[in-house]
């Protein structure tokens, strides 16, 4: 199984020096994304949502692990698979759900849809549906931060598909050349739409390519939230203190298809065993198991948390459904500021 060689269980030792509140927050963030996304999947199936939704289910560990070390005035840039990053950076799920429903109260006022989550207040100035599109933009933000001298950090999330785009390498070169405070986070879920990475890439060790630009590069078990957290934290701290960019490849898996709720099991794209392997190694379950066994989380706390988050998501759906659609106005006033 691809990914086998990277698998590691979350060890007791790895969390010994981490505060309980942080561990609970990481779990909370991942769970919030999962419950939100499961609801979106259901509503797409029920044909209540029309915008193409690229679900983040299975990859929650990455967004949660990286964003935990960011400040609200650090910027992250997302992709067409934008919900998880938005939630992990602290975005309001009501306005995200409203955006997915195409409402005026949406986080992009109904102009962006699922692929274009945005929340400038929390440090998410945009998400691009052009693969690799926000990579140089994040580097440019790092340039502005660098010139400003306030030790802010810029992060770009992208998938393995973006690593066959030339713009990544142009960006890595410039970021290292100018020592920019930017973190490149590659969520390697092994698939670009319908194609497996081995059908797309001549060398699947993605982080090696960042090393070629002298950018410190790491490959981590992307379903181990502690590994992601530790690696990202150290990279972010380095960037914040003038030590330049880092590249983090997180090995993970999207449970559903490229777009929409389908599991893609009957399309000849991937087999059931592979999907089951990843589902069994769910990043949330692994963390949950550890927190329960260490007594950091109790069963009743867990149930209460799931209920609370489910209620919040239901509330977000109600908010979205009760919100007005955007008014049709003179578009000319909306194209330019």
């Amino acid at each position: 199984m691809i990914g086998d060689q990277f698998y590691e269980s979350i060890s007791r030792e790895s969390i010994e020096n981490l505060p309980e509140s942080l561990l609970k927050d990481l779990y909370h963030t991942m769970l919030k994304i999962r419950i939100f996304e499961e609801k979106v999947a259901l509503l797409v199936e029920k044909k209540q949502i029309f915008t193409p939704c690229h679900l983040y289910i299975g990859q929650e560990t990455v967004a949660a692990g990286v964003c935990a070390s960011l400040k609200s005035d650090d910027y992250v840039y997302s992709t067409h698979r934008s919900h998880g990053h938005y939630i992990a950076k602290g975005g309001d799920i009501r306005t995200l759900m409203a955006e997915i429903f195409g409402r005026a109260t949406g986080c992009s006022k109904g102009y962006g849809g699922s692929m274009h989550a945005c929340s400038p207040d929390i440090g998410l100035p945009g998400s691009s549906a052009i693969v690799g599109g926000t990579i140089p933009i994040a580097v440019g933000t790092a340039l502005a931060f660098f010139n400003e001298g306030k030790h802010r950090v810029s992060v770009t999330f992208f998938g393995d598909g973006a690593t066959t785009e030339g713009v990544l390498y142009e960006s890595l070169n410039f970021a290292k050349l100018k020592n920019m405070p930017v973190i490149f986070v590659c969520e390697n879920n092994f698939y670009s739409t319908h194609l497996h990475i081995s059908d797309m890439q001549s060398n699947i060790k993605i982080s090696k390519r960042a090393e070629a630009f002298n950018v410190p590069a790491f490959t981590v078990d992307g379903n181990n939230v502690i590994s992601v957290y530790n690696t990202a934290k150290s990279a972010i701290e380095k960037a914040r203190h003038g030590k330049g960019p880092s590249f983090i490849e997180c090995l993970t898996y999207r449970w559903r298809g490229h777009v929409g709720p389908d599991w893609d099991l009957d399309k000849g794209i991937r087999n059931k065993e592979e999907v089951e392997w990843w589902v069994n190694n769910c990043g949330i379950k692994r963390m949950e198991k550890l927190l329960l066994s260490e007594g950091i989380l109790t069963d009743s706390e867990k149930i209460n948390l799931i209920n609370k988050l489910s209620d919040e998501v239901e509330e977000a759906v109600e908010f979205a459904k009760n919100s007005p659609f955007p008014e049709v106005q003179d578009y000319k006033n909306e194209v330019f500021k």
């Binding site: 274009h116 945005c118 400038p120 691009s128 052009i130 140089p136 933009i137 580097v139 142009e170």
Partner: protein, 337 residues
Amino acid sequence: MRRITYSEAINETLHQIMKENDRVLLIGQGVTSPWYVGTTTTGLYDAFGEKRVIDTPLSENAITGIAIGSAIAGSRPILEHPRMDFMYLAMDQIANHASNWYFMFGQQVNVPITIWGIINRGGEQAAQHSQALHSMFTHIPGLKVIMPSTPYDAKGLLVASIEDDNPVLFIDDRWLYGIEGYVPKGLYKLPIGEGAIRKEGKDVTLIATSYMVHVALKTVSLLEDDYSIEVIDLLSLKPLDTALIYESVKKTGRVIILDGGWKTCGLASEISALISEYVFEYLKAPILRVALPDAPAPASTALEKAYYPDENKMITVVKEIMKTGSFQWQKLQWNTK
């Protein structure tokens, strides 16, 4: 009256505005070179240093994204392309990102970037170093496009571009760099979207932009005794000063559009269509588009002569329009049959 050249006007503007506003950055290929961009960037690196005057690797797409990202984070970047032919490499960041951003995220995040594209026609530079791509970019919603023709307009509109909260493509032409004209010493701003009447007339309107304005004015000076010719300088392609065009058409009833780019789907075609849609009843003759043939730029001087419109060809065009009401412009170009 203080007279300086077009290139001196640009250099002076950059010095003054970078001194006035420390958020202004100049980024692009050759900005520290003594010859890449003529003398327009002379002295800037020494005055403002490596953080604000950034000579870049050959990575047009990423560098454009980097400028966009810096703009999103509060900088006012001027992104320079010494030959606009190379802007094709940055099409994704210009068209998909900079130009869509403000609209796509519900008017929450704007991209105040100035893209400075330079046309380098003539000099046997052939198909990939001579292109005038203004029409290509004017097609994109969300991108303002301006083409100043005089040193005075170059200064006032460059300031306006930098201060504008939207992406603005500022296009100049190396053939303009030696042209002298009145330029006030201090900083001033001209409105983007307003054209100018360069010469009033009654018989026929020549509509032009950038270097073609000077071709139009030379034509007028050669035909002054024969006809009363009006010359309109558009200055801005988007937004377009349609009121100025329509008023002139109502007065003269005859229109010749001088476009420095290709004819098919070009600026001249757009203006021609607008006139037909809105002021058709005032026309005394078919609208004529004087533009480049649908062929790449050739190298040999002998072929360049056939390729580019000039005042000598324009004399024939204007005379024929006045005498017979129509003219096949292609007859004067390339293939004379």
